[in-house]
Each structure stands twice: as C-alpha cells, then as structure tokens.
C-alpha cells in the first residue's frame, strides 16, 4: 500500500472513530439543549458523573464493563429527576444568561463534590478483554474499542431518530417543546414530559462520559474540558435535530482528525474554522430550522 493511501485510510478510519466518540458525548446535549432549549452547560458534569459511576461499579463493586455502562446511565438518570424538578423547571422560560449561570454553577458544585469524593487525580476504567485488541480492516488494524463506540454511536442515532420522529412519545415531546401551552391544552402533561426528556438527555450524557474514559481519561475537570467542542458540534448541527448532531460529529471528527494528522501544528484551528464557515452560510446550523 502506498504511504499516501495508508495515510488516507488512517484519517478516514480514525476520524470515524473520533466522530462517534464526539457523537456519543454530544447526543445527550442535543436532547437537553437542542430539543428542550436549555443552555445546559452542566452536560459535561453529568457525563463526568457517568464516568465516575462506571469506575466505582467496575473497580469497587467488581461488575463487568457492559453492566457498568448501563448502571452509570441509570444512576445518573435517577439523580437527574430531582435536579430537573427542583432546578431546571425554573429556568426553561428564563433568558439564556440565567440558564448559563445556573448550569455552570451546578457544574462547579458537581466538580467540587467529585474532587472531594474521588480526589483530583485521574481514575481508570478497565476494559474487558474482548474490547481490547485490534480487528483488521482493509489491511490495517483498527482498535476494537473504537469499533465498539462506532457501533454504539450508530445504534443510538437510529434509535433516537426513530424514537423522536416515529413514535407517539417523540411527537408529544416535539409538541411540548414547540408550543407548551397548546400541548397542555391537548392533554399532554408537559412537566413530566420535560422531566422525562431531561432524564433521557442526562442518561445519554452519562453513557457518553463512561465511554470516553478510555479515550481521553477522566478527572473532575472532564466536566469542562470537552464542553466547548460539544457545543461546537451542537451549533454546527443545528438545535433540535439528532441528525444534525450526527452529521456535525462526522464533519468535525473527520476534519479534526485529518488536521491533527496532516498539520498537527494547526491545533484546534480546523474545527473552529469549519464551524465558523458553516454558521456563516447556515446560521441555524446544518439541519437547524431558521
């Protein structure tokens, strides 16, 4: 294989892997922020909590990795209900600045609590043997764990898309978001619907966080570290669309990967240039409704 073909394959494969990591991390934000319209800067904190729960479940309780992923999502989901009922319900109709203040404050509190409980040093989440190692694709190795994340990412995309666009529940959620008063009048309990949607978003955040541990590590700082990139994904994709988030993840993941491979000195320039370009021509994002 010629070196340039080899390089092109590296960029494509690794870019896809990275794109799906971005997608699993940002799809929850796509639900809470995109669908519900809350500037949810606490998304990273919920993702971080997911990572820590998965860590505790595997290393201290000795459960395998896959149940730990599920438990991480469920635990954070359960914890998110009272948070939504007591805090988030107050800010849905408030200006963005107030939403930012509340959610960033929540992030700080959760980071401090996590530091208090687990310390500031990085923790690890051991993978089962079947997720270590490599599979050979097109003559080159591809880490199994990346393939696993790609699989989860694509599954999540399909399930969410069908769920939100083809089911009654999805229709109710969209109705409640677009016109809460009308939805209430039609007999939809929007308060519980919002709680449910928020819980779904945070559960997805927790899943993304737990999956990301083995790619970018985990400390309490995780809550803020990736927030900016995730916000870039959401705004490029357009608010309120899972498809947009998926496509934006692919675009940003591939561009960032290619940039890092070919011009590592460019740093984060390429993704932000791409975001700026897209928003210049489509201010509502790739799939957003303007």
């Amino acid at each position: 294989m010629s070196p340039s073909l080899h390089a092109a394959l590296s960029i494509l494969f690794d870019g896809l892997g990275y794109a799906m990591i971005l997608f699993t991390m940002s799809v929850g934000l796509s639900v809470t922020m995109g669908l519900m319209g809350v500037v949810n800067l606490a998304h990273g904190a919920f993702a971080m909590l997911g990572g820590y729960v998965a860590m505790v479940v595997t290393t201290r309780l000795g459960l395998p990795f896959l149940p730990a992923l599920a438990l991480a999502s469920l635990t954070v989901l359960a914890a998110s209900v009272p948070v939504e009922r007591t805090l988030y319900q107050r800010i849905y109709r408030r200006p963005e600045l107030q939403q930012m203040l509340l959610t960033i404050g929540l992030t700080m509190i959760l980071m401090a609590l996590t530091t208090f409980a687990f310390g500031p040093a990085p923790v690890s989440l051991p993978l089962p043997d079947f997720l270590n190692g490599q599979i050979i694709l097109a003559g080159r190795g591809f880490p199994v764990y990346r393939a696993f994340i790609v699989l989860i990412g694509v599954t999540l995309f399909i399930v969410l898309r069908l769920g939100l666009e083809r089911t009654m529940l999805g229709a109710k959620i969209r109705a409640a978001v677009d016109n809460p008063a009308m939805a209430e009048a039609a007999g939809i309990d929007t308060r519980w619907l919002f709680t449910l949607t928020f819980a779904l978003g945070t559960a997805l955040a927790a899943l993304g966080g737990a999956l990301a541990v083995n790619v970018v590590g985990l400390t309490p700082r995780f809550a803020l570290e990736y927030l900016v990139v995730l916000l870039a994904v959401i705004s490029m994709g357009g608010l309120g669309t899972v498809t947009g988030t998926f496509v934006a993840s692919l675009v940003i993941g591939t561009i960032e990967n290619a940039g890092r491979y070919l011009f590592p000195a460019g740093g984060a320039f390429f993704i932000y240039a791409a975001v700026v370009l897209v928003l210049l021509y489509r201010p509502a994002g790739l799939y957003g409704r303007s």
Binding site: P3, P122, V216, L218, T219, P264
Partner: protein, 404 residues
C-alpha cells in the same frame, strides 16, 4: 503564648534540664508564603506539594530549636501568572512573609519575580521549569529541575546509548512542550542525530484523542519516539493509544520525560506502558536509604494508595532549603544572607545528592534513565542508568531559550 509553651515541651523532649521553663525570648517565627495551585486543573499537584512541605516540617521541626516556621498557603489557581503575582504581593504587604515558596507554572514565577526583587524576599521555586527563570531575580532559587536538565541529556542518551538512529518528538503544544522539543533536538543533534519529525499533540487545556498524532508517527516508522505530556491525566490515554496502534509491535520504542511515568499515575498506565523508557530526576522506586525512608514516611502519613512523586520530592527539598535558611540565620531572615546560605548548599535528598549551583542558583542533580517494568503484579520503575550531577545545560550552553 504557643511559642513559650512549645519551648518548654521541646526542652523536656530532649531530656535537658527542665527545672525552669524560661520563655524563649529570642524565638522567631518565620513566615513562609506558599503560592501553589490548590484548585483547578493542577489541584492534585498542589495538594501533593503541600503534603510534602508539611511532612518535612513534621519530621524536622525539632531541628529548629526555639524558632518556628509557619506556612501561609494561597491558591494560585490556573496558570496565568496574574493570580500568583497578586497573591505574592498580598503575602509580602499584608502577611509580611519572610520567604516565598511555590510557583507551579513558569508564568507564575515570571510574573512574581519582580515582586521578590523589589521586596527583597527569597523565592524558592517548587516547580516552574523554564531554564531562564533564575535570571529574572537575584532572589530566586530553584529546587525542582529545568526542562533542559532532563531533555537535553535524554536526547543525547537516546542517540548514543539507546541506538535511536531515527527519532520523532511528540509534545504537548505549549511553552514547556516546545522547550522539551528544543532541548531533545539540541541533545540529539549534539550526539550526531537528525530529528525525523516533531509532532505537536494538542494544547494543555484538554486531553486529546492521541490517535491521529501517534498514527502519524507510526506511519513514519522511526526507531524511537520521544514524548512529553503534562504529568497526570494525559498519560493513561496516551498509553492506551500507543497500545491500540500496536506501536510496540511495530518496533517503535517509546521514550519520554519522567512526566509520563509520574509515580502518582504510573499504575493507571496499565500493561500498555511496560518497556517505556523515561528520563527524569526522581522516582519513588529509587533504591537509596534516603528515598526509602522518605517513601515509608509518606505512606505512613498519607496512606498506601499513592506514592510520592517528583512534585512531592521537589517540595520536600524546597522545605529542606527553608529549614537550612532558618537554621543558618537563626530565624532572622535577611534576603541576601538567605540566598548566600543556599549558594553551594549540598543536601542528601531522596532523589540523590543535590546542590545549588553557586552561580546560577539552580539545582544540580542526578538524572535517571528509567524503564517501566512489571514487578509483583504492579508497574514499577527500574533505574537503567544514572547521569550524575547534571547542571542546567540551557544556561551552560547559552541556548536561545536562555538568552532572555
């Protein structure tokens, strides 16, 4: 009052004549202003360093006699330098400290150096590794290391002893990373080599997905790669990616600064990192009596989970320097005399013999070539070689980075 009571207790403890407990009239309490990151991204490091300061104090306070030392801790937060400078000023003006100690990041030291000069306060650097820092104030003394002190000999060693006939440097893309690159390159070229490539691997603000960077290195097939990342949470993902990309199997040897085998996060690297060679100035696995005592005392005080690391030993030695000043001057701190007492000071540190270079006020110390091995089911560090009494090569060679 506490000082008076204290001197009585001490006299009793030493078994001296204790018929009278005279108030210790000449007892001095030396105030040390400590500026370290206690929150934010480097909070874990700051915490380790404060622990080391306190451990040394606890072990050695009897040596102070009637005098005493108090630490006034301040949180320098994120590495902008601005917070550190404000805190330094406050410590000098409001708290009237006698000595300054800490400064995790080079910007913190750069911004605060002027305050130390104007206020005439000795400033003991606990980390801040940019070589030229000691030229910024006549009151700066460094007890940590410089980047060049490790990376320059590492570059030479890679070519001369490890047979790295081709080498690619991967580094975190911020000032210390670029300093590492310059130093490794200088050492490697001095030995006769020629760098194949240099790959900046993202900034220090977030842990990147290392795949594209390492894939680029892998596709160029060098004999060795040399990596610098900030110690701590950057290393486990690095180890995982190195293993995922099968770089060891492709015959690319992993070399790095001691930051990647930092004792605190060593166990998190997993088996992926067995065989890595790192060059540094301290490891908790160092097999010397002084170090074994230090590690045992550390574990007794702070538990068995986390060993001390190079940050800990840097702070521990910084506190030893403070003790040396207080004992030499009998508690009456004068900046010029304090600095004079440290010039040429020799100390038996857990990291081996250290000395303060009388001319540059920088540390002279052993640099170790180490290998990550598996021992009793855990990762451990084996010393392969010792490069004795290394003096900061950046200032010695008048490299461009030190011409400031």
């Amino acid at each position: 009052m506490s000082i008076i009571r204290y001197s009585c207790l001490l006299a009793a403890g030493l078994g001296l004549a204790v018929a009278v407990c005279l108030p210790a009239a000449r007892a001095e309490t030396v105030k040390v202003g400590v500026v370290l990151p206690l929150s934010g991204g480097a909070a874990d490091v700051g915490q380790t360093e404060v622990r080391a300061l306190k451990l040394y104090y606890k072990q050695h306070k009897a040596e102070l006699g009637d005098n005493d030392i108090v630490l006034i801790e301040r949180d320098s937060k994120e590495p902008s330098g601005a917070t550190a400078m404000t805190l330094t000023r406050e410590l000098v003006v409001q708290d009237k400290v006698d000595l300054l100690l800490g400064y995790q990041f080079s910007p913190d030291a750069i911004a605060s150096a002027k305050v130390a000069t104007q206020a005439k306060k000795p400033m003991i650097l606990v980390n801040a590794q940019s070589s030229y820092l000691t030229t910024l104030s006549p009151y700066i003394v460094r007890l940590s290391t410089t980047i060049w002190q490790i990376s320059y000999p590492a570059g030479r060693y890679a070519y001369e002893k490890l047979g790295c006939k081709s080498l690619i440097v991967g580094y975190s893309d911020f000032a210390p990373g670029r300093d590492v690159l310059a130093a490794v390159k200088a050492g490697y070229e001095k030995a006769g080599g020629n760098l194949m490539d240099a790959v900046p691997m993202g900034g220090p603000a977030q842990v990147p997905d290392y795949t594209p960077f390492l894939q680029r290195i892998a596709n160029e097939h060098p004999k060795c790669m040399f990596v610098f990342t900030p110690a701590g949470n950057f290393n486990p993902p690095l180890a995982r990616t190195y293993s995922d990309l099968r770089m060891k199997q492709s015959g690319i040897r992993f070399l790095g600064t001691g930051d990647v085998s930092d004792d605190t996060t060593l166990q998190q690297l997993g088996d992926n990192a067995v065989g890595w060679i790192t060059v540094g100035h301290y490891t908790a696995d160092l097999d010397t009596p002084a170090n074994q005592q230090f590690v045992a005392a550390w574990r007794k005080e702070y538990g068995n989970d986390v060993p001390p690391d190079f940050f800990a030993v840097q702070a521990y030695d910084a506190m030893a320097a403070v003790f040396h000043i207080v004992k030499t001057l009998n508690g009456h701190i004068d900046a010029d005399k304090a600095i004079a007492s440290l010039r040429g000071w020799r100390h038996d540190s857990p990291r081996g013999p250290i000395m303060i270079d009388p001319e540059t006020r920088d540390i002279v110390q052993n640099i170790y070539v180490q290998e990550i091995v598996k021992r009793d089911g855990k990762l451990a560090i084996k010393i392969l070689d010792t490069i004795p009494a290394v003096k900061d090569p950046c200032k010695a060679l008048k490299a461009p980075a030190c011409a400031k």
